[in-house]
Symmetry: D2
Subunit: 455 residues, 4 copies
C-alpha cells in the first residue's frame, strides 16, 4: 500500500485514486508550499519540544526531530528542499523526510496536532515574518518621503483640488502627506500583527485533542503573545486573518496610488513640475520621440492589484459554515501574491522617490495671483470683515480684474501648514515604528534560536 | 443674486445654474447629511472657540455661535432640522441658520476652514461615535455567546470538518469560537478608532490656511488624541478611513456568517441539534407545513452585504490622484449603509443567541463510535505506538469492523479543549473591551460638554 | 387571527411574532416593491387569464381579477398604491386588495404559483422594461457622440498614450471611440435581454405544481420568447440575472469613465482643449476664483459606483446551494440602485456632450513636430527603408535636433483613421439598435394591452 | 547600443537602464506571453500578407515572413520557443527571430502597427480560441447533466427551499436546472464572442497610421466578422473585453457552485441522497475513519475564485483615462488564470457528474406526508375551494395531526414539471450550441490555414 516511494500519503488507506483528480486536489501546493517549509519546520520543532516537555514524547526523540528539522529549515531557506506532487504539501514532505531519517521518532511527530492547525501555524509564522518585512520596507519609504519633503520644504507649487489649481502649496507639503499616510498604515499593521500573535497549535482539527498539551508553553516557545484559545476559532480565523493582512497591504496601496498618480501627472510636460529618472521610463515601439513613465504606471497598477488580491481573499474567505473546508486551500495563492506585489512595489518606490527631480521654477511660475484669493479673503477677514463678505468682495475683484493680492502678507504657520510641516513629528513616529519592528524581529529571532538550540 | 431665501449658496457668484444638474450634484446629501448635523454643529462650535482662543474672532461672537450651534445640535438630534436641496448639505444649512440668527457672527464662522476639512471633521466625529456604538453591541453579543457556551459547556455534539462528522465536540466549544472571534474584532476596532482619533480641522482645502490656527487646542477640545498633521493627508485619508472602518465591520460579518450558516444547518431536521425560536421563523405562501429560518438567512445575507459595502468603498476610495475630488461625495452612502446594516444585524443576533434551544439528546446520538477514531489513535500513541502506526492500526480496525473505542479513556483538558474552554479568559478580555468602550464614551461626552458649556 | 385589517399575512398561522424581528425581515421591501407593483399586477393578470384558459379558474373570476389588477396597475403607476409594513411586500398587498374587492376570486389568484416565481416574474418584467429604457438613453448618447465627432472631425489634437503626447489625433477620433464603445455595449445589452426573455411563472417554489398549467400560453401572453423550462433553474437564476444586467451597466460605465476622465483632464488649464459649460461647474466655499468640474467628477464616480453595485450583487448572488433562500431579498436594492445610477448618469451625459466647447487653436498648438516622429518613420519606410532602421534614423534626428517632419506628407486614410472615421458605419449600427429598441417596446406594449383588454 | 545579443529592445535608444527596474517592468511577461506566441505569429503573418496586398511590402518579403512565422507558431505550440527577460515580451522575441533569420524583411514587419494593437490582436485571437474551448467543455458538461437527469428522471427526492424540505421533487428536476443554466451561459458566451469578433489591427497606438492599410482585408484573413473601426476604442476596449469574458466564466461558476454545494450537502450522511465516487474523496491526517469531499469543495472554491478573478479585472480595467497605459500589462495574469481555472473546473465536473451514485431509497424515504401539503391544497382548490381558504384548511389539518394526503392524486405534467422535464428541449438547445461551436472552429481553422498557405 505504498506509492512507489516506500511512503504513504498521510491519509492513504488503499482506495482507488485518479491522477487527474489528484492533480486537481494538489493544485499549486507543491510550488506554493516551498515558502512555508522553513516555518513548518520551526513549528514542528517547537511542537516536538512541547510534547517532550509534557511527557508525551521521549526527550531523545524530540531532540532528534529538532535536529532533523533544523537541517530541513536550513536547506529550505536555500531552496534545496522540493515537494513532489505525490507528497502534496510541505507537511507531508517534512513528515516523510523525518520518518525516512529517524524511523519511529518521525512517526511520532504528528501526535497532538492535525494538518489543519499545522498549516495554520506555518502560515501564521510566515505572515508574521512577512508583515515585519513589509513594515520595514514601508518605514524605509517613509524615511525617503520625509527626506524629500525636507529637501523641498520651501519649493512652492500649486495645490490642486478637483484637479484645478487652488491655493499655493509646496513640494514638502505634497510629499509629507505620503509620509503621514504610510505612518498611519504602519500603526495599522501593528494591529494586524496583534491578530496574528496568538498560537493556534493544539486546535488540531478544530476540537482540540484528548491529551494534556501545554499550549501556553508552546506559544511562548514560538514567541507568541498568547494562545488562540478556541480551537474552533482557530479554524474560523482561516481566511479572516489573511484578509486582514491583505487589507492592510491594500491600504498601503491606497496611499501610494495617489503619489504615483500625482507623479504621472506632474511629470507630464503639461505640468512640468517633476522629471522622472531616465531609468524609470521606457520607449515606444513606433514613436522614436517617446519616453513613457512605465514604472510609475506599473507601480500604480500594482496598487490596484493589491485591492484585487483583497477582493479575491474576500470572495474565498466568506460564504462557508464553521470549521475547515478544503476551499481554504485556495487562500494561499492570493496571500502570497499580495505579499510579493507589496514587496516589489515598495522596493521600486524606495528607489524612485529620491530620484525625482523637482523643477522648482516651473512650479512656482504656475502659482498665479488667483491662487492667493483665499489668502486675500483671509487677510480681509483678519481686518474685521466677516469671512463670507470678504469672500464676496474678493470674488468681485476677480470679476472686475482688479484683484492684486499681497502674496507675502500672510504665513501659514500652524502645525502642518506650508511654513510648519511637522516633519520632525513624523520622524519621531517613524522612529517609534522602527523600534517596534527591530524589537519584534529580535524577539522572534531569539525565540527561534531557542527552539533550535534548546535554550 | 440670492436664491429666494435671502441667502446664497456658499460658492454662488451669479452664474447660470440648471436645476437637473443641480439635483445631480446635490444627490442624496440633504437626506444623508441629516445624521451629520449634530456632529457638524459640535465641530463648528469647537472651531469658534478655537478662533476666539487664538484671537481670530471676538469672544462674544464665538459665544453666540456656540449657543446657536448648541440649539441646532439639540434640534438635530430630535430630527427637527431639515436640509433643503437648495442648501445642498449640512454645512450650508448650518451656516445659513447662523447667519440668519446672528448676522456677521454667522458670516465669520467659516474663517480658517474649508468645507473640505469641515465635512471630514463631521464624518470623523460621526464615525468615532458610530464605531463605539457598534463596539458596544458587539460586546453585548460576545457576552451572549459566552453565556450560551457556559450553559451548554457539557453538551456533546459532533464536530464537523469538510461538513463531515469528525470528532466529538460540544455546543460550548462550537459557540465559544464566536465569542473568541468577535473579541479579536473588538481589538481590531480599537485600532480603527486610533486611525480616526486625530483632528483634521485646519487642513482647509488640503493646504492649510495663512492664519495662526491652534490645531492642538482644537484637537483637545474635541477629545482627539492629537492632530492629523499633514493637511494633504487629511484629504488623502478620505475614503481610506471609511474603508478601514467598513473592513472592520465586514470582518465582524465574517465571524457571524459562520455562526448563522451553522444555525441554518443545525436547525434542519436532517441535523436536529437546534431549534430556532418561533419568532425567528416565517411561513410559506403555498406550503402550509413550512417554517422557514428567514431571520437567520437574512442575517447571513447581511454579513455578505457588509462585504459588498466594503467592496463599494474600495471602488470609490481608489483610483484618483491626491487631494479632494467631488467623487468622494459618494462615499457617505455605503458608509452609512454599512453602519446601519451592522447595527441591525447585531441587534437581531443579541436576541437570537439566547433564544436558541439545544437538543442535547439528538446531538449526542449523532456522535457514533467512529468519531472517536482519532481519540483511539491518540490512546495507542500514548501507550508508545508511533502515531502514524497507530493511525494505520485504527484504520484497519475500522475496515475490519472491529473498532470499539473506549470513549471515556481520554479527556481534552488543555486550554481550549472540550473540558477546558477558557471562557473565563474570554470574559476577562470582554471586560477589558467594555472598559475601553465606557471610558472612551465618557471622555467624548466630557469633551463635548466642555465645548458646549465652555469648561 | 387577523392583523387588524381583517386579513392575514399570506403565511400567517397564529405563531408569536416579534415586531423588531418582523421589521428586520420586511426590511426595505415596502418601499422598494413600489416599483414592482404595476409589473406584479400585469403578471398576475396574465396568470389569471392562463388559469381560466386552462380551465383552472372560472372565466368570470379571471375577468374580475384582470379588471381589478388593471386598476391597481394604473394607480401604482401614479404612485397611489402603498404597501404597509404589515403587508411586507407588493405580492401580499395586491392579494389583499383583490380579496377585499372580490372575495373568493381574490383568494383564487395564488393557485398554481408561489411567491417565489411571482417575484421573479415581476422582477423580470421590470428588468426587461428598465433595460430597454437604459438602452434608449444609451442610444441617445451614442447619437450625441457621433454628432460631436462629426462636428469636430477635422479639429486636430494630440493623441496621448501613457498620458504623454504621442501622435496627432483629432477630436473626432477621440470621441468616436465612445460612440463605438457604447455601440458594442448596446449589442451586449441585447444579449442580456435574451437571458431575461423567458417566462419563469409556473416554477412555483422551484418544483412546479401538480396542475396542467399552460406555461407556453402564459409566456406568449407576456411577450416572452419562451418558457424558462426548469423550475429549479428559475430559482437558481435569481441573482445571476440581476448580476448579468448590472455587469452590462457597469460595462457602459467603463466606457463612460474614460470619457469623463478625459473631459476632466482636457478642461484643465494645463491642457486647455475643452471648456465645460458653466452649468456643469460649481464653486468653492473658500476660494472665490475657482470653478470646479463637479458634475464631471460625480459622473465619473457614478461609473465606479456601478462597478460597486456589480460587486455587491456578486457577493449576494453566490455562495449558496440551489433553490430559494431568503438571502435573495437583498438583491433588489443594489439592482434598483444600479438602474437609477445608470439612468441619472446617462441623462447628465446626454446634456454634457453637446455642451462641450472645443478650443481648436490650443489643441492644434499642442501638436509639436515631435508628434510626427512615427509619421516620419512611416514615410521613410514607404521609401523602402526597413521600418526598424527608419525608427533608429528618426530617433537619431531627434537626438541631434535635426528632426523636421513633413507634416502633410501622409494621410491616415484607412478605415478608422483621422481622415476616415467611419462615423457613417457607427450611425448605421445605431440605427439598427434603435430599431431593435423600438420594435421590442412595441411588442411588449402590444402584449400588455392584450392582457388588460383580452385581445 | 545593443544588449549583448546583437539585437535591441524595440524602443532602445541608449539610455541608462537599471536591472531591478527592468525586471519590475517586464514582470511575468516572458512566462505569460508563451501562450500568446502562436497567436502573435498568426496575426503577424496576416499583417504581412495585408501589407503586401496593399503594396506596402514586397511580396517576397511577406512570403518569407509568413514562412518564418509558420515555423515559430509550430514550435511555440510545442513549447519550443522561449522568451528571455531581455526580450520582455512575445512581440519582441518574434521580431528578433525574424530579423535574425530574414534581415531587412524582419525589420519591415512592424510597419503599420504598434505593439499596442499587436498585443490586442494576439490577445483577441487567444481569447476567441480559449472561449471556444470553454464553450466546448461546457457543452460536454450540459450533456452529462442531461444524461444524469434522464437516468434519474423518476427518482423522487425532497425539494428544498430555505434549506428546509418543501415539496416532492426528483433527481431529474434537480439536475436539469444545471443543464438549463449552463445552456443559458453558452448563449451568453456567444455574445461575448461577438465582442471579440472584430479585428483591432491598424489601430496602431490608438490613432491609426498614415498609410492606406486594408483593415477590412486583414479582418477577413483572420476570420473576424469585421473591423473594430475606432482606433481609440481599440485601446479603450482593453480590459473591458477581458472583463466581459471573465464575467461570462464567473457566471458559469455561479451555476456550478450551486451544484457543488448541493453535492456536498446531499452526500452528507445526514442527507444520504448521493455517494461521491471514491476517487473524488480524500482522507484526514489524524482521523482514520474520514472520507472528505475535497474535490467537490475545491471545485466549489474554484467557482468563487472565478469571481475573484473578475473582481481583479474590474479593479484593473477601470479608473483610467482613455488610451493605453502600462497599467494594462497586469490584465493578462488574471485573464489567463480565470481561463485555466474554468478549464480545470469543467474537466473535473465532466468526470464527477456521471460518477455520482443516487440512493433512491433514502431520498424517497425523506419525502414525508407533510411535503404534500401544497399538493393537497391544490387538490382542494381544484375542487372549488378558493386557494387561500384551502391553504388554511390544510394548515389546520397539519396542526390537528389529521393531515393525510393522497400522494397520487395529482401529477405535475406542465412543461418543466416533475413529469415533463423538457429534457428533449434542452438537448435541442445543446445541439444548436454544439453546431455553433463546431462551425466557428472550422471557420477559424480554415482562415488560419489560408493565412499560412496563402489560399
Amino acid at each position: 500500500m505504498n506509492n512507489g516511494k516506500g511512503m504513504l500519503r498521510l491519509w492513504e488507506k488503499g482506495l482507488p485514486l485518479d491522477e487527474a483528480i489528484h492533480r486537481f486536489t494538489v493544485g499549486d501546493d507543491p510550488e506554493l508550499d516551498k515558502r512555508l517549509l522553513s516555518f513548518d519546520a520551526l513549528g514542528s520543532a517547537a511542537h516536538a519540544r512541547m510534547l517532550a516537555h509534557a511527557g508525551l514524547m521521549p526527550v531523545k526523540d524530540a531532540q532528534a526531530l529538532v535536529d532533523s528539522l533544523a537541517s530541513v529549515a536550513a536547506r529550505a531557506r536555500h531552496g534545496e528542499v522540493s515537494i513532489s506532487p505525490a507528497q502534496e504539501d510541505c507537511h507531508t514532505a517534512i513528515e516523510m523526510l523525518l520518518t525516512e531519517q529517524l524511523g519511529d521518532a518521525g512517526k511520532r511527530i504528528h501526535l497532538g496536532r492535525s494538518r489543519n492547525d499545522q498549516v495554520i501555524l506555518a502560515l501564521r509564522l510566515y505572515m508574521r515574518d512577512a508583515l515585519l518585512g513589509i513594515a520595514a520596507q514601508t518605514a524605509e519609504l517613509v524615511n525617503e518621503f520625509i527626506n524629500f519633503a525636507q529637501a523641498h520644504a520651501d519649493a512652492t507649487m500649486p495645490g490642486y483640488t478637483h484637479l484645478r489649481r487652488a491655493m499655493p502649496s509646496s513640494f514638502g507639503l505634497w510629499v509629507g502627506a505620503f509620509a503621514a499616510g504610510l505612518s498611519e498604515e504602519l500603526q495599522a499593521l501593528q494591529a494586524v500583527y496583534a491578530r496574528l500573535d496568538r498560537c493556534p497549535l493544539g486546535a488540531a482539527a478544530g476540537f482540540g485533542v484528548p491529551l494534556p498539551l501545554e499550549r501556553e508553553y508552546l506559544a511562548e516557545l514560538l514567541g507568541f503573545s498568547g494562545v488562540q484559545i478556541s480551537p474552533a476559532d482557530v479554524m474560523n480565523s482561516r481566511g479572516r486573518h489573511e484578509l486582514a493582512l491583505v487589507n492592510g497591504l491594500a491600504s498601503i496601496g491606497l496611499v501610494l496610488e495617489k503619489f504615483l498618480w500625482d507623479a504621472a501627472l506632474y511629470s507630464m510636460p503639461e505640468f512640468g513640475f517633476l522629471d522622472l529618472p531616465d531609468a524609470f521610463t521606457t520607449g515606444s515601439s513606433i514613436m522614436p520621440q517617446k519616453r513613457n513613465p512605465d514604472v510609475v504606471e506599473l507601480a500604480r497598477a500594482r496598487c490596484r492589484e493589491l485591492r484585487g488580491h483583497a477582493l479575491m481573499l474576500q470572495e474565498l474567505a466568506g460564504g462557508l459554515p464553521s470549521s475547515y473546508h478544503r476551499d481554504f486551500q485556495l487562500l494561499k495563492k492570493p496571500l502570497f501574491a499580495a505579499l510579493d506585489t507589496s514587496h516589489e512595489l515598495l522596493a521600486v518606490l524606495v528607489r524612485l522617490v529620491p530620484g525625482l527631480k523637482v523643477n522648482a521654477e516651473r512650479a512656482r511660475a504656475a502659482c498665479g495671483d488667483e491662487l492667493y484669493a483665499a489668502h486675500e479673503t483671509t487677510r480681509l477677514a483678519q481686518q474685521g470683515v466677516p469671512f463670507r463678505d470678504a469672500y464676496q468682495q474678493v470674488a468681485q475683484q476677480l470679476k472686475d480684474g482688479t484683484f492684486k493680492p499681497d502674496r507675502s502678507a500672510l504665513k501659514s504657520s500652524h502645525l502642518g501648514g506650508v511654513g510648519n510641516l511637522g516633519l520632525e513629528l513624523m520622524a519621531a513616529e517613524l522612529k517609534a515604528a522602527n523600534e517596534w519592528i527591530a524589537s519584534t524581529c529580535a524577539h522572534l529571532k531569539c525565540c527561534a534560536d531557542g527552539v533550535w538550540q534548546g535554550n
